[in-house]
């Protein structure tokens, strides 16, 4: 028998956890000597109060959906891919190499190849940790952490020594050819006659992210492979007994996960910066962990949580602008508290709520 109704598990408990994280963050704001309610209204207003705010919120959300899906897919197989940061950076490298390879005539031709470039590079960066986990039993968390650091060294090396634009001081590539520029929200909105902020970085990649949510959902719940991934995550011995190869599932899951993280490069490198810099990811790989936890490793949840974290990042930037006493790192504090309450301290809320529902059921029976 189910201990409690499904909506409690997927909605109520995450919301209580989120609420607790916000209460603790509010106390921090109070300690600094500012009004937490004013702070939260500035954040909400800054995130969704204008097309400019929406343009940034959805841009960040696009990044977080990719990295969140990456973590979510690995969670389904009970693998913890903490290497989204490195996979996304290397994925960005793949995207940049595609964009710089030939003078693309039009973005519709460049985008599919950039998608392949980002996914293949991201997946390749996940392949070695996956292989070592599958065949040598090396703990995937440790190897993916190590690969994050190795990725950042590789990026700096390549940008300083190999890919740097000749004559430039900054470690970055030349700007991509104009045919590889993705249409921004402004271009798309004005095509249908709607006003939208010209400076917001939101671009067509948002739709790629939405498509990925749908594809991941179909993969996990409507294909044989998805069933195998979830079965493997539930119980490795049972999956093995059913003839599912642990090596194969570990490899495939991590390759999909790395590929999804690598796709983030489309948004950040091709859509926004239009050149490759040494750290195109800016911590989004780690935000993906929070997004996947909050979204209960389900694509719909990841989408909603990605939106929430997009608001947090954009609103947090506005907050520092309006109240300089609260520095931008407040975002990290809130993010940490969300991970702490929804991830590590989940049982703190879950156990009492379960007991409450059991008692209610006994009372009504």
């Amino acid at each position: 028998m189910e201990k409690m109704p499904k909506w409690v598990d997927i909605a109520l408990i995450p919301l209580i956890n989120l609420f607790l994280a916000l209460v603790v963050s509010g106390l921090v704001v109070l300690y600094i000597g500012e009004d937490p309610f004013e702070a939260i209204s500035i954040m909400v207003n800054g995130a969704i109060g204008s097309t400019y705010g929406w343009g940034y919120t959805l841009y960040y959300a696009t990044n977080f959906i990719f990295t969140g899906l990456a973590v979510a897919v690995s969670f389904q197989a009970k693998l913890f891919n903490i290497g989204g940061e490195g996979q996304a950076a290397i994925g960005g490298l793949g995207v940049a190499l595609v964009c710089l390879a030939i003078p693309w005539p039009h973005w519709t031709m460049a985008l599919p190849f950039a998608v392949i470039g980002g996914a293949v590079f991201g997946a390749a960066w996940a392949a070695i940790p996956a292989f070592l986990q599958a065949t040598r039993g090396s703990h995937i968390v440790i190897t993916t952490i190590m690969f994050n650091f190795i990725a950042s060294a590789v990026m700096v090396y390549l940008l300083v020594n190999v890919l740097k634009k000749p004559g430039s001081m900054a470690p970055e590539t030349a700007r991509f050819p104009e045919g590889a520029f993705l249409p921004k929200a402004y271009d798309m909105a004005s095509a249908v006659g709607l006003p939208f902020s010209r400076s917001a970085p939101l671009n067509v990649t948002f739709f790629v992210a939405l498509l990925c949510c749908v594809l991941v959902y179909l993969l996990l719940w409507h294909t044989r492979l998805g069933y195998q991934i979830r079965a493997f995550g539930h119980s490795e011995p049972a999956a093995r007994y059913a003839g599912i190869s642990p090596v194969k599932i570990t490899m495939i899951t991590m390759l999909i996960s790395g590929g999804l993280a690598g796709l983030m490069g489309i948004n950040a490198v091709m859509g926004e910066a239009q050149r490759l810099v040494t750290d195109p990811v800016q911590g989004a790989g780690f935000v993906g962990i929070a997004v996947a936890l909050m979204g209960r490793s389900h694509p719909l949840g990841v989408f909603l949580a990605g939106l929430l974290f997009g608001m947090l990042y954009q609103g947090g930037g506005e907050l520092e602008f309006e109240i300089p006493a609260i520095s931008r790192e407040m975002i990290l504090v809130i993010q940490a508290l969300v991970i702490l309450f929804t991830g590590a301290l989940d049982n703190m809320i879950r156990m009492p709520v379960e007991r409450l529902f059991l008692r209610m059921r006994k009372g009504s029976a």
Partner: protein, 321 residues
């Protein structure tokens, strides 16, 4: 390369190895008891910040040390509550602690000092000063051994020597006391410890607390010994290098010292020479920076001596009823 250069590089390697060593021993206690800790980085950062802040307020580095240890122990307890009491995921708790530290140190630091996340520059008694061992100046003239004694062995802050003693202490505690035997057992097979009537929860909490204290020393040395104050994100991945060293050392104190000295040496060489020329082939500085991580992956892969972690690591213990 003359003797003086070698002594200087080794001297700097010893300094850079000290925070790694404390953090590595901290992780050793925690992981030997079956609690994975990827939050070493956050604990180092928090204690670096608090030690520098308290030292700046009080003017005494020793009070600063207490502040640093308190900050680190607080985070260690949080990890304990999440992973022992509430049986949460230890890896996720570690990730949360790392973010908590990088966020809080800047938010609170900006509120206390308004210096963009830095603490004021520490001077005099607010820093750990270098100690000159007896006869260091008198013996400097002796060939070879003189410079080694007076420049390499002497002239460090007290925490460097404490770090070296901590290796011995850790070995003694883990392998020569009853507490150590139980601690190691609880990381391998908690059921057996429970059956013997020893509290798994208490043992794991004490390991986590020791881990907090040692990380506090690592952060304090970083902010008040190696540097003169706290700078945003100053731990710079040292917690993860320490984790790498721990795996490299196969969870043993003596090897931990070797691994930390090796990684300290790599960092010292990387700081001194931007590019190294080996037989006409340029080794880029980024390769030197990535080398600890690459070596760890190679060790983990088991091609050069397999590293096997404590068996019950990462699993919350549920008492049978």
């Amino acid at each position: 390369m003359d003797l003086m250069t070698i002594v200087q590089i080794l001297d700097s390697a010893l300094r850079l190895a000290t925070p790694l060593l404390f953090a590595c021993l901290a992780g050793l206690f925690s992981e030997r008891s079956g609690i994975f800790d990827i939050g070493l980085e956050g604990k180092i950062l928090a204690s670096a910040f608090l030690s520098a802040s308290v030292a700046a307020f009080s003017g005494s580095v020793w009070i600063g040390l207490l502040g640093g240890i308190a900050g680190s122990v607080f985070l260690a307890l949080l990890h304990g509550v999440a992973s022992i009491t509430f049986r949460g995921n230890q890896l996720i708790s570690g990730v949360a602690i790392n973010f908590l530290a990088s966020g809080f140190t800047v938010v609170i630091g900006e509120n206390w000092f308004g210096l963009g996340g830095r603490t004021p520059q520490l001077e005099g008694a607010a820093r750990f000063q270098e100690i000159t061992l007896p006869f260091a100046d008198a013996l400097r003239g002796v060939p070879v051994l003189g410079p080694i004694y007076s420049d390499l062995i002497s002239g460090h802050s007290i925490l460097v020597y404490v770090g070296l003693l901590a290796v011995l202490g850790t070995w003694w505690l883990l392998f020569r006391t009853r507490f150590g035997l139980r601690l190691r057992a609880v990381g391998e097979n908690p059921e057996s410890v429970d059956t013997a009537g020893v509290s798994v929860i208490r043992l794991r909490y004490s390991a986590v607390l020791i881990c907090g204290c040692l990380c506090g020393l690592a952060g304090t040395y970083l902010a008040t010994g190696l540097a003169a104050g706290f700078v945003k994100e100053m731990s710079a991945g040292r917690g993860f290098i320490a984790l790498a060293a721990l795996i490299f050392a196969k969870w043993r104190p003596g090897y931990a010292l070797m691994a930390c000295l090796l990684f300290g040496l790599l960092e010292a060489i990387g700081n001194r020479y931007q590019n190294i020329d080996i037989g006409g082939f340029q080794v880029p500085v980024q390769f030197m920076q990535a080398l600890p991580y690459i070596l760890t992956v190679v060790i983990l892969a088991g091609f050069v001596g397999k590293a096997i972690p404590p068996r019950a690591g990462g699993e919350p213990y549920v008492k049978e009823r």
